[in-house]
């Protein structure tokens, strides 16, 4: 029974990992760039959510409607102004650029808003549904379901709409996409914006169940990096599934080994899987 409990907890956390990873995979797929400040997008959305709660008592779940568009804009502009300029440069420069942005953002927030941990405690923060011995946290469940919904929305966008297809086409063959009349610069900026919006959504969904501090994003980003590699290079569907698997494995690992190693266990499992399947778990997929 307790294992079931652990599984459910892992699954629910995995939903959030999925949402973060999917955005990262989208960016990686279209631009072949690793966005090291992905976690800071999440962090900024968490602060925004916190302030919206503090000053206008907006429910964290509702504030997704604000954080996602705001961070979309931020991501779009960052891509146009900074990222776009290194796309043709060697990898190391791309990595360092996003790393530099990450460091600047973390420390900027630390400087202005102090490293203090903050939290938003809503009426439902500790609510649970109990079935026999198994207790299911309500905010975790809501976050999971919303995360799932956002991932599904992204999937539909990529499969059904013309802009979505243009993003996929660019990821699969950039030059051919250009020949079809796709404006790559716009596609890149939009993908980055969407990736940022998804990270923002994840941030808002985390607020009722997590702490807020300047460095909060980075551990999530590292997990998302792992999930993206697990899910297969730049595959959105792979990242979504990979996120869930990562959450479950991590929960099981920390239950059977030790909670002190929670953060390391997922990464270790990842390394083991890498030995077996360097191309990721799922291979290539449509999106």
């Amino acid at each position: 029974m307790i294992v079931l409990q652990v599984l459910i907890n892992g699954l629910l956390t995995g939903g959030i990992y999925s949402l973060i990873s999917v955005g990262l995979a989208l960016i990686l797929g279209t631009m072949r760039i690793i966005n090291i400040f992905h976690g800071e997008l999440l962090m900024m959305a968490m602060y925004l959510t916190y302030w919206l709660y503090l000053y206008i008592h907006l429910d964290p779940y509702v504030s997704v409607l604000i954080t996602a568009p705001v961070l979309f804009g931020f991501g779009y502009v960052m891509q146009r102004v900074l990222i776009n300029r290194v796309l043709a440069q060697p990898e190391v420069n791309q990595v360092l650029l996003t790393l530099g942005i990450s460091m600047a953002l973390i420390n900027l927030f630390q400087l202005f808003f102090s490293p203090t941990y903050r939290q938003v405690r809503t009426g439902y923060s500790t609510a649970v549904l109990a079935f026999a011995d198994v207790r299911i946290s309500i905010p975790y469940t809501i976050s999971f379901m919303l995360a799932f919904a956002f991932t599904f929305l992204l999937y539909s966008f990529l499969i059904r709409t013309f802009p979505g297809k243009a993003i996929r086409a660019t990821a699969q063959d950039r030059q051919a996409a250009v020949m079809m009349g796709v404006n790559i610069a716009t596609v890149n900026a939009i993908s980055f914006g969407i990736g940022a919006a998804l990270a923002a959504a994840a941030g808002s969904l985390l607020v009722p169940i997590y702490y807020i501090f300047p460095g909060v994003g980075f551990p999530f980003a590292i997990k998302a990096f792992v999930v993206v590699v697990l899910g297969g290079m730049g595959s959105v569907v792979g990242a979504a599934l990979g996120g869930i698997i990562f959450g479950v494995v991590e929960a099981l690992g920390s239950f059977f080994i030790s909670t002190r190693y929670t953060d390391a266990i997922g990464l270790l499992i990842f390394i083991v899987i890498l030995l077996v399947r360097p191309a990721g778990l799922f291979g290539r997929s449509r999106v």
Partner: protein, 248 residues
């Protein structure tokens, strides 16, 4: 009418790959471009598409200077490019590849009708519509590439070695399709190594060698030209000659 006027194209700062290349594509005609491997044929097509910029000279579609436009705007003007090696979107279905063909604003409203006409042109594709492009046979992939080019309802369509790697029978079929496309009023720019076929169906042809246009003329005249037969198209002709013998 599209005209290429004395362009030089270089990769990096080295010796230009194309030098002083000029040619014209009059409306409604099939113009062939032949030349051996590495002559610069693909480079020329990529330059017309806007993927490369000429360092000298210009390209004009009527009065629009194409060489100043980004590639997606060139596509928007009705110039389709069926690239060398097909370059399909491997993890998209046949139908999605065709959708991408109609990505331009000018063609998007006609998507449904165009898809039907492509399926009429290549009935096999209708059965394969849900299949991923990378799982298709070479011939089917070429059909998708051509269909994708037609989806944009182009005024001018450029084919880069459409017969490459195809069985002789399919090659014939492709050439029939190209003639049909032209009969519907589209200007065709055909790059081919299969010289006999290309010269056979074109109205006019240019010969590109080592980055320069070294000759041009009516297809039939070039085929009969002794100098061209022996010294320049020698290998090309005997190869395709063997093909046609094998067919017979």
């Amino acid at each position: 009418m599209l005209s290429v006027d004395g362009i030089d194209v270089a990769y990096g700062v080295g010796f230009p790959t194309l030098r002083n290349v000029s040619l014209r594509l009059p409306e409604g005609e099939i113009i062939a471009l032949v030349g051996s491997n590495g002559a610069g044929k693909t480079t020329l097509l990529n330059t017309i598409s806007g993927l490369l910029r000429p360092s000298r000279g210009g390209i004009r579609l009527r009065d629009t200077p194409l060489h100043l436009l980004p590639p997606h705007e060139v596509a928007e003007l009705g110039i389709a490019h069926v690239p060398e090696g097909r370059k399909l979107f491997p993890m998209m279905t046949v139908e999605e590849n065709l959708h991408m063909g109609a990505y331009t604003r000018r063609s998007r409203p006609h998507l449904a009708a165009m898809i039907e006409s492509v399926y009429d042109l290549f009935p096999v594709l209708r059965d394969r519509r849900r299949q991923y492009a990378r799982t298709l046979s070479g011939g089917e992939q070429q059909m998708v590439a051509i269909g994708r080019g037609l989806m944009s309802m182009p005024e001018i369509i450029m084919f880069d070695e459409p017969s490459l790697g195809l069985a002789p029978l399919i090659v014939r079929e492709m050439f029939e399709v190209i003639k049909r496309v032209n009969a519907e009023g589209k200007t065709v720019f055909l790059v081919e190594q299969n010289v006999r076929f290309a010269l056979g169906i074109c109205h006019y042809a240019y010969i590109l060698e080592q980055g320069q246009i070294i000759g041009s003329g009516k297809g039939q005249d070039l085929l009969n030209d002794e100098f061209i037969q022996t010294s320049i198209l020698g290998t090309g002709l005997s190869n395709s000659g063997m093909d046609s013998q094998a067919d017979a």
